[in-house]
Symmetry: C2
Subunit: 172 residues, 2 copies
DNA sequence: CACTAACAGTTAGTGCACTAACTATCTGGA
DNA sequence: TCCAGATAGTTAGTGCACTAACTGTTAGTG
């Protein structure tokens, strides 16, 4: 009980930051810290919640969310190497390796050695994997409905996230 | 090779959605699907990338990102039950249980039975856990610097994420 | 008072997600 | 030609994150 609770709801809940960085040259460093704490927290929670929203929708397709992302990539272009998929969806080969084996076990992809480069794998959609796309078309509208956000909000979110990805992906 | 690749970069890369839902009453359902695919993808990648940004910064503190979120909650209010922490950062008790044992093993918290309710645990900061807060104050500015985003962008992101959390958290 | 509901937390099992260490293949010179 | 270094993927080990099934405690109800 050393530090008394500042709010009942917990982590900096309703402290709306005032946007005035253009008239005030220096933002209070204290506010900056708090804002960022909220952003890291909000990003993690929002991602978990939204992925949780996908779970029941993807379940009839027999896919998890990362598996769904891999399938989206393959529906765009079918023979891809592990490395290429990893670059597209920002995942390490070590993460994809077992995931792709599960997709193979489910009969959605094949994992064959690339003819030009025996090191690489050619991940190819099977007929079954290609057909699954039809069912997957039903997924996005269900998610949008469950999310219950307006298109403008979705677009604003997407814009912000794109900036974050642009700022974080190339540097690493 | 049934579907030829629409773009070399993969998942709907630069298809900026046109915001005209107020003059056109019906948005093309096809565009809607694509936008959403981008949002789910962008959210997952952005969260992974940003958490990855925290990794090296939190490493000297001996914390992982979810552990950091738990500590943030405890720095706000110290004796909390497992359930309360879970509500604050949207995690299942089953996820927190081993995590809290690791924090206890690290000497940052204690896990004692709650005096009023023998079912509940009172998770309390130790002196060491309380002192770690001083080091943690260095974390947010480092992240903001590594992110390299303007404050306005951060605030816009935070606003969008808050709407997502509001839309997803209570409904479930 | 007993007995059932609800509740708090834990355990087991599956599946990401990362780093580090490894095998196998390919490539560019000396 | 041979071989050092880069590259593609796998494996091992740690730590989330979820659901389902479990133990133990509390509280409400007949």
């Amino acid at each position: 009980m050393t530090r008394s609770a500042s709010t009942p709801t917990g982590i900096r809940p309703s402290r709306r930051p005032v946007t005035r960085s253009h008239d005030a040259p220096t933002v209070s460093p204290d506010d900056l810290l708090k804002l960022d704490q909220q952003v890291c927290f909000a990003l993690a929670v929002a991602a978990r919640n939204v992925i949780g929203l996908y779970r029941p929708v993807l379940e009839p397709l027999g896919l998890t969310h990362p598996q769904y992302l891999v399938m989206l990539a393959l529906w765009e272009r079918s023979p891809l190497t592990v490395r290429e998929i990893g670059r597209l969806i920002s995942l390490e080969p070590a993460t994809l390796s077992p995931l792709l084996k599960r997709l193979e076990a489910a009969g959605l992809v094949t994992r064959d050695r690339h003819p030009d480069d025996e090191r690489a794998l050619a991940i190819t959609l099977t007929e079954r994997g290609r057909r699954l796309r039809e069912q997957a078309l039903e997924v996005p509208p269900q998610i949008v409905e469950r999310l219950g956000l307006r298109i403008e909000d979705l677009e604003a979110l997407h814009g912000s996230l794109t900036r974050v990805i642009a700022a974080t992906t190339p540097a690493d």
